[in-house]
Subunit: 573 residues, 2 copies
């Protein structure tokens, strides 16, 4: 039987048009350090149209089919209104948006520019110095640089192509555009490269359909829960997995959008929340952690913010509890990765859970949505039961779970065995367990698990326990080589501002809460824990510093045998 | 550029599987008049699997492509757990579900059974007597009748095919089934016939994709706003536009589902809400109106119910205000029709609206979602501006707006000019205006508009004003022939229980609130306003009664000219 329903594709053009028509009076506000530069969605629509015309003028080719040779437009930008215009205009005109991670090393960035085939790159004026070495290293596919904002031109003196000013480029263009709202929804809309600590960056290509469905999913009450009454603050960079769906969700719901531009230090974030009357934000745990210190020690009115999302990597329960107890802000915990178009699972407690059960659910990574299959695989390749006890690697397949990495214009998609199983599941690299009622509890990254004497120690568990100590701002635990046990955990902690505590006391705090054989012997205090380009703890960097003898490590060993490992788990070793 | 995202279809099988795995402990509870018969989603999944095997055994053919010759399974059932199993199993196995409107006349029902090509019809035991005349009138395509529940077999003695018992049919089947989760998402999942008051019923065929996307849309905060913590009560029949998306939304979110079966009188609905701790319900205005009378006059604890949806046709603001003021229940107003797969627009006030503005937004029909285009067309065919003033017919196209009616197995889809414009827009038959910020305000059905002396009178406006009077339970205004003005409005009112009031006082109440020339001269009191099979006011029936002289009509004429029309709008006539 033939359905009488129309074949209407799900496209970014629909989100854009919905925003500038039905929600024409909603606004995007960009912080300028002192106040907001505010623009209505009607204006965003007009400027996006002008931008699309200008891009056509620069030779960017639109496409409406998955096999079209579409033009690729790079952005080397922060979270601001112009970046939002590119976010919408580039896919809606049928080209591909490539959001460059401004914190990635230049050599890796140059690789992604060449691999994706960027013809035009947009850059914020204060980032031109960071972009210049990328252009120097790239193989010159880029023909145009468009600078957004004043200044910054000098750094581009060595660029052989044309340099334009954003406002001049779009100034004389028409304010409407025949958006590609009938294109094949499987057509590419954007590409995002993972910032792998090893190997070359790997590109994931999102289709219009996948962006639209992700956006529709994240606004639901069991996920972000966003409505037209919200004021959204994507603290997470827009270059990181499409700003975690928040920019698109703003257009879909008509919620206002608030952006911090280059003002990403905790005091600025607090000010933006206060002045923007923000109702919802998304960020990684380390950003929420830094903001917490600011909120604890200064006087801001952040009462508009009652809920926010924390993801990117596991959030310490102590951080969630601190926000709840001290600022009445509920941090929603979830999980996702570049390969899944951001957020997949979200930790909403089920109906009927009492207060203590609620908390157990909240600190988990949450439940998976419909159309996503998930499984746990043991180190021997066996499927593990979802008992909440068995620990294995999380593997996924289904809606918006990538099946490959982009191979480049002339190559087929890549499916490295390290990332994909032979039967087509994505290997997430995350290790954890799943409860009978479907909640994911991650215990580590595969590469961060500490293999001590044939047993596994979860670095995340030790970190979370340490961070529950009031003196600790951040804690990171990494594997270091050990003659006797192969590997042992080393703890690096940064202390809260103005606090002093003996490492021995922290060691005892930990020993009272976890099995004795897991307690680290090696301890170090760091001013701040080093982070990767997306804000994760840089565990590789810390291991390198240890190997090079650059850390001031204190040995604390209280076990009779000389290593505490046998203390609590003798039978196991 | 090729997307690396997988082509995962959106299917009912995904909703089913998500429900019985991730939300296996959520329940569907069917009221038995005394308590609930409760079943977990895990059991629903197992019983759906058994049902699918049994249907294969009866010869129902699955299909996985839009051009497959799929088997069609009819249901002549109320809202209960077995109907839910059919709702899920039939599409998830690749067959087509045809939900029969149990209140439609037998001749029309027989037409739909033959037109859709039902091979098997499931019927609740107490509805077999109503089904028998349908089968007698049908052209015998039905080979199997499956009776759900005890008794009722005698009425089917004249049926030439096989009669089965639901529980016996599925008893020995396996509890898992290879669901069609990889079918083409444009494949037909279900068919629903409109109960047009004139002409033959017209079938709209919903695809898997359309059901899934509708379900994802209605759970969002600007629409129903449903989460895993809800207890959902679809008072609207499951045979009416897929239960307005509520059954599917329950599986998607893991919310509990509560069903009233045959106990649809107001006292039972109140009891079900109380005992089931219902948090959200959907129903037409006339059902909410009857329930209000029950809640006002009896003592129920309905504190669990804080919000509900009212749609199907325009809800009187006085009814919404009564729920808000007397029971702290927020009725969310919205709009949709069979041709749009139910709910499309929803009246959530925008951010920043003050209390009085909020109310103006709440009583509107709300805003349209992304991917749906809307326009107002004047009687001369001109497009009207969205000023909130210009009144015209609402026309739609886009996601989940049907482009045709089902033509039958051997015929092409039908696109009658009465229902579709030449350029492919759906003519909704609803008349109203649209505000600059995108809110729809309906003033009438095209066929119900009263054309008096060349001017239009909105029957809905008169009804809403009358229903704001405390003595009035329901009011309906219809056009009746008038020698001088062509048509004039006639008001029929039913009074609240135990209340008495002179019609002249009601007439004065109205005259103080609307233009004098619109005030009806003809008045009648009816015990209850007659309703159609989906609960709408039966205006045709009332007009027939008037024409036949079966109504006791009082003439009240206070204008100097003999007809009040010239009193307030002399210049206009």
């Amino acid at each position: 039987m033939h359905s009488t329903m129309p074949d209407v594709p799900l496209t970014v053009a629909h989100l854009l048009r919905h925003g500038y028509t039905v929600h024409s009076t909603s606004t995007v506000a960009t912080w300028n350090g002192d106040g907001f530069d505010r623009r209505s969605y009607a204006e965003v629509g007009e400027r996006a149209a002008r931008l699309a015309h200008a891009l056509r003028g620069l030779g960017v080719r639109p496409g409406s089919r998955p096999d079209s040779e579409q033009g690729v437009v790079g952005t080397f930008m922060r979270n601001n209104a112009r970046h939002l215009e590119l976010f919408l205009a580039v896919p809606a005109m049928g080209a591909v948006l490539h959001t460059l991670n401004v914190r990635m090393p230049a050599a890796q960035l140059a690789y992604t520019v060449d691999h994706a085939g960027d013809e035009v790159v947009f850059v914020d004026a204060d980032l031109t110095e960071a972009l210049a070495p990328v252009l120097e290293r790239s193989a010159n596919a880029v023909k145009h640089i468009v600078v957004a904002g004043r200044g910054g031109r000098a750094a581009l003196a060595g660029f052989s192509g044309e340099v334009h000013d954003y406002e001049e480029l779009i100034a004389d263009e028409p304010t409407d555009y025949p958006w590609e709202d009938r294109l094949d929804e499987h057509t590419a809309a954007s590409i995002c490269y993972t910032s792998g600590t090893t190997g070359k960056p790997k590109g994931v290509v999102y289709s219009h359909r996948s962006l639209y469905l992700h956006c529709l999913r994240v606004v639901t009450p069991d996920n972000y829960s966003l409505s037209t009454r919200d004021v959204l603050f994507p603290v997470a960079p827009m270059f990181h997995v499409q700003g975690w769906g928040v920019p698109h969700a703003a257009l879909l719901t008509g919620a206002d959008l608030v952006l911090a531009d280059q003002f990403t230090q905790p005091s600025s974030l607090a000010r933006v929340i206060e002045r923007g009357r923000v109702t919802f934000g998304v960020a990684v745990p380390t950003v929420w952690s830094a903001l917490l210190e600011e909120l604890d020690t200064h006087d801001y009115d952040v009462t508009s913010l009652r809920r926010a999302f924390v993801g990117g990597f596991a959030c310490p329960p102590a951080l969630m509890a601190a926000y709840r107890d001290r600022h009445s802000i509920e941090l929603l915990h979830g999980w996702g990765m570049t390969e899944t178009l951001g957020m997949v699972s979200a930790a909403r407690p089920p109906r009927g859970a009492d207060r203590s059960e609620e908390w157990v659910y909240r600190v988990s990574q949450g439940r998976f949505p419909a159309s996503v299959e998930f499984r746990l695989v043991g180190s021997d390749g066996d499927l593990l039961p979802h008992t909440g006890m068995a620990v294995g690697e999380l593997q996924l397949r289904g809606l918006n779970v990538t099946t490959a990495y982009y191979g480049g214009a002339a190559s087929p998609p890549a499916r490295p065995a390290q990332n994909f199983t032979a039967d087509g599941w994505l290997r997430t690299g995350d290790v954890g367990k799943i409860t009978p009622d479907g909640f994911l509890i991650l215990t580590d990254r595969i590469k961060d698990v500490i293999k001590s004497g044939g047993e596994f120690i979860s670095s995340v568990e030790l970190e979370n326990t340490l961070m529950a100590h009031p003196a600790v701002a951040e804690a990171v635990v990494v594997a270091v080589p050990d003659d006797r046990w192969g590997e042992r955990p080393m703890a690096a902690v940064s202390l809260r501002h103005g606090v002093d505590i003996a490492l021995e006391d922290l060691r005892d705090f930990l020993a009272q809460r976890i099995d004795g054989w897991m307690v680290p012997e090696r301890w170090t205090v760091v001013p701040t824990v080093p982070k990767t380009s997306v804000g994760k703890y840089d565990k590789r960097g810390l291991q390198d510093q240890y190997a090079d003898g650059r850390l001031d490590v204190v040995h604390i060993d209280k076990s009779p045998q000389g290593v505490s490992q046998t203390g609590g788990g003798g039978a196991r070793h």
